[in-house]
Amino acid sequence: MMEKKELIPFEIVKAARIIGLLTGFIILLFVYRKIPALFLFGGIGLAIFADQLLYFSLKRKSTLQIPFFYVQIFIYLALISMAIYFAGGLRSGLFLLYGLLLIYVAVSRRLSPLVVFILVVTLAYAGVTLPEWRNSPTNIGMISQRLILLFLISVTTSIFSRIIVGETVKLEKTKEDLLSTVSHELRAPLTSILGYVSLLLGGKAGALNEKQKTFLQSVLQQGKKLESLVTDILNAARPEVFLEEKEIKLFDLTKLIEEVVEKFQPVAMERNLHLKRELPDNILVVEGDPARIEQVLINLIDNSLKYTEKGEVSVSLEPRDREILVKVSDTGPGISEEHLPYVFEKFYQVDGSLDRAKGGTGLGLAIAQEIIMSRGGKIWVESELGKGTTFSFTLPVRRADEGRSKVRQRETIKQGARK
């Protein structure tokens, strides 16, 4: 079996960052008298730097959630204000750190939170320099000047970053439109090609000899492959169109997996691979559009079969507390660490040359991710070079079950209280 190398869930990273920053803040608060000021600022700088480093090194597709963002910003603000206070208030040039913080807010959020945040910064700065401007009112002018400077810097940054983001969005939109049009336009010639070939094979234009039949069979097969690639492109261009679930219902995941694996048996046999399944005996009910979940399974199994030269591909299903874990493991070449974080990205191909031989758009995994995330599940990959790759995803179990278990819990608590 391959070594387990699960990526750290993003929630834990977030929690770790908040706890880390808070601990750092409290420690600094208690020991500031005992250590030289320089160390103090070093400590603050280091805390913020480490936090950002952690964020960027572990950054994945998910964006920061708003509450977390604000908690983080206010901890930064507190740290900076403290530094300014101990560095001598107005005399210190550290107020420029507020500028950096404002720029950070400006590039990550919209203009309105920025305006609120500017007010908060104004209050904070006024607070830490309180003794100075109280004693000599002329200092107020200096404080205002500095605040106006910060204000101008951050608003300008915000506007420019909006413009850049706007351009990117526009570009993205054009790309989607293009892909969608291409996908539709490619269907017209494909319709003619596949239509005529089917007619010829059906003997509607006279009898064919064996060789002609074999050749036309190949044309038909390849044409159908092309059709599914064209569908993939449309899928990627307009994921929301396909995520639109036709019918949401409760269905048995065990049975669905059984069916999909069965469909792939001939493909596995052709490639001399062993396709096995490890499924529990009981019914496992999840909620969603079975066609979408089937698409995920097809993409994952197809992917594993494509890249595995010898050995096996196994599909397993394991019920957990509130979710069901599905794994698709193979004994293929594995994916190197540098490629791992990107395998779910659109059009990403681990090895261009290899992939061209296998055929594929680099979209299957991206589509799988969209579908699983839209259902509130998680999807990830573990791999070791030379040993194999495991794609796993979870799906929440249906809510009715959850409700029931909550009721049961409450009953247990009540009973406990009575005793």
Binding site: A188, I193, L194, G195, Y196, K204, R238
Partner: protein
Amino acid sequence: MTKVLVIDDDSDVQEIIKTALEAEDFEVTGRFNAIEGIRRALKDPPDIILLDVMMAGTDGFEACRAFKAKEITKNIPIVMISAKIEPRSQKLAKELGASSYITKPFDPLTLGETLLRVIENNK
């Protein structure tokens, strides 16, 4: 003989449908745009209409609406046939009263069977 009216601006599609259906004893009439198609259907109502969605001028959805609004063509089953494979288009077609939706590329060899089934269900 079952009379089929095919409205599609692609001459290849017309040819393919014609070849496939005529071999199965359908009487096929083709029109290259929606207006011509509607005119033809009013003059000589077919048993079933095969209607493309993306056409220049009046598109298939509008044509479908027009067929369903006219007394003569109201009860003729309509089968949409389109390169638009999105669930949204299929839903819209259903809402407009189309009996079935075939996505392109389609298999001409099973088309006749599908049409007969739609006519049967429509009775």
